[in-house]
Amino acid sequence: MKVRLTAFAIAVTILFAGTVFGIGKQAALAKAQRLTVLFQQSNIPDDMIVKEYAETWAKEKGVDLNFQIIDENELRSKTIAAIESKFGPDLILFPDYSAYLYQDSLSPLDDLVNGLGEKYGGWFPVCEQAFCYDGHWKAVPYKTFVKPLVYRKDLIKGVNEAVPDTWEDVARVSKKITDKYPGVYGFGVAIGPRSDGPNSIRSLLWSYGASIVDKDGNVALDSKEAVEAFAFLKDWYSSGGMAPGVPGWDDSDNNRAFMAEKIAMTINASSIYDAAKNDFPDTLGKVTGHAACPKGPAGRFGNASSQGLGIPLYSENKELAIDFLRYMYTSERLKRITTETSGGATMMLNDVVKDLPIWDDPDLRALLDISKVSYLIGYPGKITRAASAVRSEFVLVNVAARMLIEDLSPEETVRLATKEVKEIYARYK
């Protein structure tokens, strides 16, 4: 018995000593010049270009760099864990509205962002709404990527049509393509709980003059214009011009369908165009094009998906992170990102992007043009927590999907959507 107790005591002592040693080693490492960056994995190569910049900078400065590239879901979870525990990466990529959600935990970067804006002809208008709160910049705007109409030039020509410009044109042309080409649907985009769906539905609503809120942030979805927009969507779906499975699609389904030549048009970022050009340059690459996102009775409205780089307040390496950002944010380096991603990752400084040779290609020019008519969630109001909740709980796509599969009327759909939006806005009053 005495032997067993003694053995146990020795084991506990070793365990304790090991733990103390490990914690001490970590603390020592933390004090060294070290930068940890958390970046989102991209369908286009901008993530690898930024990583290359970081590695070059780190080598020049003698900094121990840990550059992690992870997918969007994991990025969100890790960011939350880091912010809640006040321990983790020094520089984090914040997609869409996430910088707004965590703004109180981010360091102000006014000097850096304002300085870059002055140097390079100002930031895109959307940047201030996306990353500046109560007069303070909480993230450096990184890229915007818009979602143009991606289309098959040959199939549209095959039905004797011009490239569609309005939503009605897209619906009409898609029906003609479906009727003429067996096994091919004219149009397809996810109307399900993923990223693509909410963007498309919002774009459709705005272009019909409808919106979730008004400019003062009051719920305004219950409108004649919203009913018209949903009615148009329902008619389009019923006409057969759209792939019937879209309510169950995820973000990759339209990419897959287009690359498999099963759909002729979709609304998507430049990943489809890039894949077609790079992987099938002699076939699909030759007949794939970009056009402006469709216009409605109230005009043309795109979704401004934007990303920014922020430094959490807990970081002890803030100056190091800023030094890297200054290194990366030069005209030459930013131009390279936009150019090598064919405009898929458009940097948001006016003088940096305005005269790039890639815009001579009309398929790529469409991306820059759309970015000028693109807006964030909460438009025409501001980004709010309630607006982000409506987006992250997929209210619009869920009601749109139910309208299509349960044959709800557009009026009932708008009523259902308004009820859910009001519940969410009341939650965050």
Partner: protein, 294 residues
């Protein structure tokens, strides 16, 4: 001077300290914190502000929440029913002698061995409308003219999720029951046959009472696992179309991670606990009663 018995007790308690520490720190503390957060307005990065039962009342007033409750019950109860029934049938089959029994048993285990995410992706590929295997087969056999959007049809989408869950969990049931059935005393079978009992009567009056505790344990574990399942729904439908396959786990994720509203998101997951707690107590009671009668 302490006795040998006292020494043994002391050593037992000392050996429990490390695991108790781990359970308290990594399970107990987060659980208590989660309960606290459910009574607060707690956003990521912000301090928690006490708001009483507001998260719960917000949830109970939400139409989406009641859809989630319904879907979760339908999903869980249906999956358990099929797993229990098919598991028992397969267990009885595997207890018979037939040619190739070991091979069949091995193949049967594949669904349990393959990681859940990979299984769900494969099933998604089968049921996809464009490029899906099932549609390809149906069109080749000219049974359909156009692609069937299986994952967009509401009841079918949930049905497919149940199918995947059953396919994955069936081996656990079958093997557990198979092992339990082997412990049924042979003389009870003989007595029942002599008395002229039918196979159904033998199952109900001889086998089931003998394996009751194993059935209860399997039922308890699988109810908890299925109720809290995220992977199948997340990969197949992510709660769509139109929230019609949204369950507790996916809804919690959407609110907590998507919106950064940890207070409300945690409340969604905590609402499950009373339901599961009642069930566990009930089943534990049945097992205790069974032990006393035995």
């Amino acid at each position: 001077m302490i006795s040998q018995r006292q020494h043994d007790h002391l050593l037992g308690y000392l050996l429990l300290i490390p695991i108790s520490f781990i359970v308290l720190v990594f399970i107990g503390y987060p659980f208590i914190t989660a309960i606290w957060f459910s009574f607060t307005k707690k956003y990521v990065g912000s301090p928690a502000l006490y708001i009483g039962l507001k998260n719960y009342t917000t949830l109970f007033r939400s139409s989406t929440f009641w859809l989630v409750v319904r879907n979760s019950f339908v999903y869980t109860l249906s999956a358990i029913f099929f797993k229990m029934t098919l598991g028992m049938l397969i267990a009885k089959l595997l207890n018979r002698d037939f040619f190739g029994k070991d091979v069949v048993g091995g193949i049967f285990l594949i669904s349990w061995v393959i990681p859940m995410a990979i299984s769900a992706l494969a099933w998604k590929w089968i049921f996809q409308d464009i490029g899906g295997i099932l549609n390809w087969i149906l069109m080749r056999l000219q049974l359909v003219k156009y692609d069937v959007p299986f994952l967009s049809i509401p009841k079918l989408a949930l049905g497919i999720a149940i199918l995947v869950n059953v396919w994955r969990g069936l081996p656990f049931f079958a093997l557990s029951f198979q092992g339990a059935l082997k412990t049924v005393p042979r003389d009870q079978y003989d007595a029942a046959r002599i008395a002229g009992a039918s196979p159904v009567q033998i199952f109900w009056y001889v086998e089931l009472p003998n394996i009751r505790n194993v059935v209860m344990i399997v039922l308890m574990l699988t109810t908890v696992w299925t109720f809290a399942d995220l992977q199948v729904i997340w990969i197949l439908t992510r709660g769509g179309p139109g929230n019609l396959t949204q369950v507790f786990a996916t809804y919690t994720y959407e609110i907590a991670i998507g919106t950064g509203d940890l207070g409300l998101g945690i409340t969604v997951s905590l609402v499950m606990f009373p339901l599961l707690g009642v069930m566990i107590l009930y089943l534990t009671g049945i097992m205790s009663k069974g032990r006393k009668e035995g």
